[in-house]
C-alpha cells in the first residue's frame, strides 16, 4: 500500500472528491426542481452564443431587437466564443450546456483553489469554502451560466502563476494572456483580477528582497495594462462606454442589496475574519495581498452608499462575488490555523486528536448547514414554466425560421434560445417597464391593430391574454400567427 499510495494522500483524495461533489451540488442547488436556465442573463448568453454558432461570426443580427440591429464588438465576446466552441465541439444540446457548465466551472474553481491552497497547507479547507460562494439573482454567482463565474477561475490560477515568478519568466506571458482573455470574457472581473495582480506584484517587489528574482515581477507589473489592450483593440468604443458607466450616477429602481453574510453563514464569515487576522499576523507579500485586496473590495461594497455616489450600483452589488472568493480562501486558512493551534495547545494529551477532529467536524458541519440553509432562503424566479417551454419548442419546430415574434418582453428572453427566432423586443425588469406596460396593454386589448403588427414586422404573437383579431390564427394555446394577407 505505502509503495503505491500513501494513506494521508488517500484520505486527502477522498476529501477532495467529496468537496468536488459538494461543489457540483451547490451549483445545482438552485435548479434541483427546475431544468431550465433561471436567470435572465443565462437565457441572454445562450441566445447570443446560438447566434454566433448559427452565423459563424461575432457580428450577427440582434435577435432581441428583431434583427434590426447588428451586434458587433460585444463586451463579453470572449465568453460567447468560449461557449460557442464548447457547444460546437461537444454537440451538446443548449439546455444541457446551461445545466452542466455552471457545475463544471464551479468544480474547476474549487479544484484551482485547492491547488493554490495546498501549497500552503490548506488546500482542502480553501476548496471547501470556495464551494460556499453564493449565487443570487442580484450579484449572480457560480450556479449561473454567466461570464463573471468563468472569470473567477482566473483568480486562483493567476495566484499560482505568481508563485512561479520568483524563479521563472514563463509565468509573465501566461498571466498577461489570462488577463487579456479575461478582458474579453468579462471586463469588470478582469479589472478586479488586475487589482489583485497589481497589489500582489507591488507587495512582492517591496517585501521579498533577496528571496527570488525581481525582474520577471517588475516586467509583469509593467505589462499588466498591456493585457487590457485586447479589449481596446477588439472594440475601442467599449472603452468610452466603460468610462461613461464608471462615472454615471445611474440608480436602479430597486431596493439596495442586503449584505450576503447570513446566506454565506456566520461560521464561514467568522473563519474568514480569523484567517484575515492570522494572515496579518504572519505577514509576507502573499498574505498581505489577500488582506489588502479583500479590504479594498469590502470597503467598496460595504461603504459605497455613504461615501461614493458614482458608477452603476450593479457594479457594487456584483463586487460581492469578488469578495467571496478571497473570503473563502481566508476562511480555509483560518480553519487550518485553528486546527494546528489546537494540535499545539493540547500536544501532551492523548485525547487531543479525537477532540480536535470532533471539533473540526462540528465546525465544518455547522458551516455547511448554515450555507445550505442560506441557499434555501434565496428565491429564484423562473422566466418560463414547463408548458411555455413546450410552446416555444413547438414554435421553433413548426413555424418558419424567419418569424419575428411579439411577446411580453421578459418572457421574450427565453423565446430566442429555444426557438432560434427573433423577437420584436426583450427587456428585463427593472429596465424597460414602459415597453412591458405598452405591450401588455396591446395584448390585453386583443391585439386588434393588424397594421401596427405589420409595421413592427411581427408575424407571431405569444400572448397571456386571449386575442381577438380575425387576422390572427391561434395555432396553439397563447400562440398566434398573422395570416400573410393580414397585412
Amino acid at each position: 500500500m505505502t509503495e503505491t499510495v500513501k494513506r494521508s494522500h488517500l484520505i486527502e483524495a477522498i476529501l477532495l472528491c467529496l468537496i468536488l461533489a459538494l461543489a457540483l451540488f451547490m451549483a445545482l442547488y438552485p435548479r434541483l426542481d427546475y431544468p431550465l436556465p433561471l436567470h435572465v442573463d443565462e437565457w441572454m448568453h445562450l441566445g447570443h452564443t446560438q447566434q454566433i454558432v448559427d452565423t459563424g461570426s461575432l457580428s450577427y443580427p440582434d435577435p432581441w431587437q428583431g434583427g434590426r440591429e447588428i451586434v458587433e464588438g460585444h463586451p463579453e465576446t470572449g465568453y460567447y466564443t468560449w461557449l460557442s466552441t464548447l457547444q460546437i465541439s461537444t454537440g451538446m444540446p443548449w439546455l444541457m450546456l446551461a445545466r452542466l457548465m455552471p457545475a463544471i466551472v464551479l468544480g474547476i474553481i474549487t479544484f484551482a483553489a485547492y491547488a493554490w491552497g495546498r501549497k500552503w497547507g490548506f488546500g482542502l479547507e480553501a476548496a471547501l469554502f470556495t464551494t460556499f460562494i453564493h449565487t443570487t439573482i442580484r450579484f449572480l454567482g457560480p450556479a449561473f451560466l454567466v461570464p463573471v463565474t468563468l472569470g473567477l477561475v482566473f483568480f486562483p490560477i493567476c495566484l499560482m502563476l505568481l508563485e512561479k515568478l520568483k524563479r521563472d519568466w514563463i509565468p509573465v506571458p501566461l498571466i498577461i494572456l489570462s488577463l487579456a482573455s479575461l478582458f474579453l470574457i468579462h471586463g469588470t472581473t478582469a479589472v478586479a483580477l488586475g487589482l489583485l495582480l497589481g497589489i500582489s506584484l507591488i507587495l512582492y517587489l517591496i517585501l521579498s528582497r533577496g528571496q527570488g528574482r525581481r525582474l520577471p515581477a517588475t516586467i509583469c507589473l509593467l505589462a499588466l495594462p498591456v493585457s487590457a489592450l485586447a479589449i481596446f483593440l477588439w472594440n475601442p468604443s467599449l472603452v468610452k462606454e466603460y468610462i461613461q458607466a464608471i462615472i454615471s450616477t445611474e440608480h436602479l429602481p430597486m431596493d439596495p442589496i442586503p449584505y450576503p453574510f447570513p446566506e454565506l453563514g456566520y461560521m464561514m464569515v467568522t473563519l474568514a475574519a480569523v484567517g484575515f487576522g492570522f494572515m496579518i499576523a504572519k505577514g509576507g507579500w502573499r498574505n498581505y495581498t489577500l488582506v489588502i485586496f479583500t479590504s479594498i473590495l469590502l470597503l467598496f461594497v460595504l461603504l459605497y452608499r455613504h461615501w461614493f455616489d458614482i458608477g452603476p450600483e450593479i457594479l457594487y452589488e456584483r463586487g460581492w462575488l469578488y469578495v467571496m472568493l478571497p473570503m473563502a480562501l481566508m476562511a480555509g486558512y483560518g480553519l487550518s490555523r485553528l486546527y494546528h493551534l489546537g494540535l499545539g495547545f493540547f500536544k501532551r494529551r492523548n485525547w487531543r486528536l479525537p477532540l480536535i477532529y470532533l471539533l473540526l467536524v462540528v465546525v465544518v458541519a455547522f458551516a455547511l448547514f448554515q450555507r445550505v440553509s442560506g441557499y434555501s432562503k434565496e428565491s429564484y424566479y423562473h422566466i418560463i414554466d414547463g408548458p411555455t417551454y413546450y410552446d416555444f419548442v413547438w414554435a421553433g419546430e413548426e413555424l418558419p425560421q424567419s418569424s419575428n415574434a411579439l411577446l411580453i418582453p421578459d418572457t421574450a428572453w427565453a423565446f430566442v434560445p429555444i426557438t432560434g427566432k427573433y423577437v420584436f423586443t426583450a427587456r428585463a425588469a427593472p429596465w424597460g417597464i414602459e415597453e412591458v406596460i405598452m405591450i401588455t396593454k396591446f395584448f390585453r386589448s386583443g391585439a386588434r391593430n393588424t397594421s401596427l403588427l405589420v409595421a413592427m414586422d411581427v408575424d407571431l404573437l405569444y400572448s397571456p391574454f386571449p386575442l381577438n383579431n380575425p387576422d390572427l390564427v391561434e395555432v396553439r394555446d397563447k400562440l398566434y400567427i398573422l395570416r400573410e394577407e393580414g397585412g
Binding site: 500500500m1 503505491t4 499510495v5 494513506r7 488517500l10 483524495a13 477522498i14 472528491c17 467529496l18 461533489a21 457540483l24 426542481d33 431544468p35 454558432v53 459563424g56 461570426s57 461575432l58 465576446t77 470572449g78 468560449w82 466552441t85 460546437i88 465541439s89 454537440g91 451538446m92 445545466r99 452542466l100 463544471i104 474547476i108 479544484f111 484551482a112 485547492y114 491547488a115 493554490w116 501549497k119 477561475v153 482566473f154 490560477i157 499560482m160 512561479k164 501566461l174 494572456l177 487579456a180 482573455s181 474579453l184 477588439w234 414554466d385 408548458p387 413546450y390 413547438w394 413548426e398 418558419p400 390572427l472 390564427v473 391561434e474 395555432v475 396553439r476 394555446d477 400567427i481 394577407e485
Partner: protein, 275 residues
C-alpha cells in the same frame, strides 16, 4: 505518452464530431476544450518535472484552456472560415498538436530524470488486494467518492425533465404546416385542418375535440385515449353552413370526461356562397 494521448483524444473527437452526436462526443469534447489546450501549453512551457506539481499542472491546464480557447475563436472569426464546426475543431487540434510537439521537443532536450511524465497509480483500482483492512476501506471510500462526483455530473446532465401536468393542443393546415390555414371557405363544403394533441399529464388521459363555428357545433372527434408523452395528430374536417365574414371557428379540447373545455383555439374564416 501523455502528449500522444492528448493528440489521440483530439483526433478521436474530430472523428466523433464527423460521425454525429452522443455522450462519447460530449465527454471527448469537454476534455478537448476544457483541458487539452491548457495541458499541452503547460507541458510545452514547463517541461521539467520540478517546475510544477501534478496538481498545479492539472489546475493550470483547466485555467489556461479557458484563457486560450476564446482567443483562438476570436482569431477564427477573422478568417474566411468563421466560427463553425470544422474550423474550430481543426484550429484547436492544430494548437494542441503544435504545443504537444514543442513539449516533446523540449522534454527530449532534458535528461530523462528531469522530464515531466504523468504518473498514473493504477494500483488503486485493485484496492481490495491491499493487506491492511484500513487501507482497503479508505481506498473503497475513494472509489465511491469518485463515483459520487461522476454520478453528480451525470445527474446534472440528464435530469430532471419538466414535471408539470399539461396537454399540448395545436392546429396545423391540411398539409401539416402553418402556412395555409382555411381563410375563405364555401358554405356547405368541407374544409380540413390538422389537429394535434400531446399528453403530458403524467397519466393515461381521454380527450374529445369539438369544433364550433359562431357557437354552433360542426364537428367532434373522440374519444382519443393517450398515454403519457403520447402524441396524436390527424386531419379533421368540418363544414360551415352560415355565410358571413370573420366567422369564429373554435377548436375545443375536453379532457377526462369534463364538460368544461380544457383549451380552446381560434381561427376566423370568411364563409361565402357557392357560385
Amino acid at each position: 505518452m501523455d502528449l500522444l494521448v492528448a493528440i489521440l483524444i483530439s483526433m478521436a473527437l474530430v472523428i466523433f464530431a464527423i460521425v454525429g452526436e452522443g455522450p462519447v462526443r460530449i465527454a471527448l469534447g469537454l476534455i478537448f476544450v476544457l483541458f487539452l489546450p491548457g495541458y499541452t501549453l503547460v507541458a510545452a512551457l514547463f517541461p521539467k518535472r520540478e517546475s510544477l506539481g501534478a496538481i498545479e499542472r492539472t489546475a493550470l491546464s483547466f485555467g489556461l484552456s479557458i484563457a486560450v480557447v476564446p482567443l483562438i475563436g476570436l482569431i477564427m472569426n477573422y478568417t474566411p472560415w468563421g466560427i463553425s464546426l470544422y474550423p474550430i475543431l481543426i484550429s484547436l487540434l492544430v494548437f494542441i498538436v503544435v504545443a504537444a510537439g514543442v513539449a516533446w521537443f523540449r522534454r527530449r532536450r532534458l535528461p530523462p530524470e528531469q522530464r515531466f511524465e504523468p504518473c498514473f497509480r493504477l494500483g488503486l483500482l485493485q484496492f481490495w488486494r491491499f493487506p491492511n483492512r484500513w487501507d482497503r476501506v479508505l481506498s473503497g471510500v475513494l472509489v465511491v467518492a469518485i463515483l459520487a462526483v461522476i454520478g453528480m455530473l451525470v445527474f446534472v446532465a440528464l435530469s430532471p425533465t419538466v414535471e408539470e401536468k399539461f396537454t399540448e393542443f395545436y392546429i396545423l393546415d391540411s398539409e401539416g404546416k402553418t402556412e395555409n390555414y382555411p381563410d375563405v371557405v364555401i358554405s356547405g363544403e368541407e374544409t380540413q385542418v390538422t389537429i394535434g394533441i400531446v399528453n403530458r399529464e403524467q397519466e393515461v388521459t381521454d380527450y374529445i375535440i369539438r369544433i364550433y363555428i359562431e357557437g354552433q357545433k360542426v364537428g367532434e372527434v373522440g374519444t382519443i385515449t393517450l398515454a403519457h408523452e403520447e402524441k396524436w395528430e390527424q386531419l379533421v374536417s368540418f363544414a360551415p353552413t352560415g355565410v358571413g365574414e370573420d366567422q369564429e371557428v373554435e377548436f375545443m379540447l375536453y379532457m377526462g370526461g369534463s364538460d368544461e373545455a380544457y383549451q380552446v383555439l381560434h381561427l376566423w374564416i370568411d364563409v361565402v356562397e357557392a357560385e
